[in-house]
Symmetry: C2
Subunit: 381 residues, 2 copies
Amino acid sequence: MTVPVRYELLHRCKDTAARRGRVHTPHGVIETPVFMPVGTQATVKTMAPWELSELGAKIILSNTYHLHLRPGEDIVKRGGGLHGFMNWSGAVLTDSGGFQVFSLSELRKITDEGVAFRSHIDGSPRFFSPESVMGIENALGADIIMQLDECPPYPASREYLRTSLDRTLAWAKRCKQAHARPDEQALFGIVQGGEHLDLRREAAEALVDLDLPGYAIGGLSVGEPKPLMYEVLAYTTPFLPADKPRYLMGVGSPDDLFEGVERGVDMFDCVLPTRIARNGTIFTSKGKLVLKNARYREDFSPIDEDCDCRVCKTFTRAYIRHLLKAEEVLGIRLTSYHNIHFLLDLMEKMRKSIEENRFLAFKREFYNSYGYTGQREDVLG
Amino acid sequence: MTVPVRYELLHRCKDTAARRGRVHTPHGVIETPVFMPVGTQATVKTMAPWELSELGAKIILSNTYHLHLRPGEDIVKRGGGLHGFMNWSGAVLTDSGGFQVFSLSELRKITDEGVAFRSHIDGSPRFFSPESVMGIENALGADIIMQLDECPPYPASREYLRTSLDRTLAWAKRCKQAHARPDEQALFGIVQGGEHLDLRREAAEALVDLDLPGYAIGGLSVGEPKPLMYEVLAYTTPFLPADKPRYLMGVGSPDDLFEGVERGVDMFDCVLPTRIARNGTIFTSKGKLVLKNARYREDFSPIDEDCDCRVCKTFTRAYIRHLLKAEEVLGIRLTSYHNIHFLLDLMEKMRKSIEENRFLAFKREFYNSYGYTGQREDVLG
C-alpha cells in the first residue's frame, strides 16, 4: 500500500523540541512547521486560490460539517473533489466535523454510535458516525482527513473526559476500518484527554498503536489558561512518533504558534487571521492594530512598515480604514490577505531560525517587537 | 492653457452615428466607445485595482457625494487624490453628487443657490452649490469632473423641467467659473430637458456656448420607456460638437450600450454589472443567468462558455453557485469580475465592428444570441 502522506525530518533545533521537516502529500510538499489557512466552505474567506498561491500557501484546511450541509459531498466529489471543485492545486486537510457539531450544544446528542444533530442552515436532523464521516471525507477527497472525535469543553469533569476519550479512541479505530481510500488520503488520529496528562498519554499511546500516518492534538485552546495548554502540549508530543507529522488543532495566534513549534508541533490551523481581518484588525511586527480607529484616518503609511506583502506595498492605512468604515469588500480582502501573509511569513522565519539553531532567540526578538506580555488580550482578536 | 482632455475621432461607422475614437486624459488614452466601471466609494465594489487593469479598464467613475461624506475630500486629497488614494493609475471621472442628492427625496431642498440635504450616514446637514462641488471635485482630482446639475425624475411636468433646466444651465456657468484646475481636470456639462426635444436642444446649445471639453446627456434611463430614451438620444447628440466626447450617464445594460453607441455616444457608466453580480446574476453571450437557481447546482461548465475571462477559465457554475448560496465573498468577487469583463469585452467588440463598418450587423448578432426581445426585463437585474 502506498503511504499518501510521509513526514521527513530535516533538522532538530538545539535546546528545544522545535523541528524542521517536510510533509509529502499527493498535492505537493509542505515545509514544516506550517500554518494552514482555513477555508471552511471550500474558500478561504475573501481569497481567490491564486492569491493563496501567491502568498506561498501549500496546504489549506476545509470543514467537513459545513461542506456536508452545503453544497453536499456529492457535489464536491462530482466537481473533482475539493481540489477540483475550488480549483486549488495545493494540499487540503479536512477536519471531521466533530468540533462544529459539538459546538451546537443545544442541537446535538452524543452516543457511542455517533452524534445526532440538526443542521444550523435548515434545522434538518443529521447523524455523524465514524463511518458516515469517513464516507464524507472520502468523497471530499482531501490529502489529510481527520477522525471523528469528541472535543470536550474546558472545564470538564475528569469523569466526563474519561468517558469521552474512550469514545474518541473507539471512533479512531472505526474510522480506520471505514476509511475507503487509505492509499490516497492520510487519516490522522486526534489525541484528547483535556488537561489530564495521564489521559493524554493513554490517548497518544492508543492512537500510535493504530499506526496512523499522522497525529493531531485536539481539545486545546478551548478556554484553558495558556500555561496549562503549553504544559499539556510539552507533555504530549514526546509520546507521538518522531517520524509522523504532529498537528495542533485550532491554534493560530502568533504566541501559540511559537509555543507550539517550541514543543515539537509541525502543523497548525486557525480562523484567527481571517476572522480578525474581517473586524479590521491586522497583525504587524509591532503588535496588532485596529484599523478602524480614528487615529488612522490620515495615516498614509503602509499597514505594516516591515511587511513586503502586496497590500503593504500598495495601500495606506487611511485607504484601508476608509474601505472598512464604508463596508467595502476590498477592505476585508486586503486585511485578510495581509494577515495570512503575516502568519505564513512568520512560519517561514521560524523554519529558518530552526535550521540555524536560533529559534528561541528569534522568539524573544519577536515577542519584544510585538510587545507580547503573556496576556490573552495581546494576541486574540 | 493646456486642454486636459481631448477627443480624437478615428472612424465614423457607415449607416449609423456610431463613432470610434480616443479620449486623451492626463492618466492615459481611452479607446471609445467605452464603458466605465463605477467605483462609488473609491473602489469598484469587490475589485482590486490590479484586477481592473487586468480586465483592460482604462477609466473608472467615482462619486462625489459619497466621497465628500466619507472619508471626506481632504483625506482623499492628502492621499494623492483619487488616483493615489486608491492606487489606480488609469483615468477617473467624478460625478457631481447631484444625482445622489436628488435621490434623497425626503432629505433635500433645492434652490437656485444649490441644494441643502442631510447625510445618509449621520443625518448631518450639508449644502452643495456649484462652487462647493467644484471645490470637492478639484480636491478629489479626477481627470474628468461633472458639473452640478438637477436630474429630474420621470415623469415630470414640462413646467418643472423648464425651471430645472434653467437652474442646471446657470449652475454649469457657475461651475466653469469656480473650477480651479481647468488645465488638469476637464469639466463636462450635462444636457437635461427630460423628454422634450426643444429643451434638450436648448440645453445642448447653451452648454456648447460655454465651450466645455466634453458633454454628458443626463436624465435618461430614469424610468421612461426605452423607445423614448432612444428618441431623445438620437435627437440630442447631433447638437453636441463632433470634436468633443459625449457621455450618456448611468446607462450600462447591453442593449442600452448598443443603442447609445448607435446614436453617437462615446462614454457610459452604470452600477448594473456589479450590482446584479452581487445578486448572483451574470451576463453571458446567451443572455443573463441567475446563478443561485437550483438548476446550476451540479452544472460543472463555466458560467459563460464563450467567455475567456479568468473566472470562466477557472471555475464552474456549481462552485460559484455554492459560494453565492454560502454568502462567501469570493462568490460576488467572481461574478463582479466576470460581469465587468463582459461589458468591457462587449465594448471592445463594438469598437472593432465600427472600424469595420459592421456595427449594425454585430448588434443584430448579439441581440439574437442574447435572446433580446426589447422587454425591459431582458436586460435589467
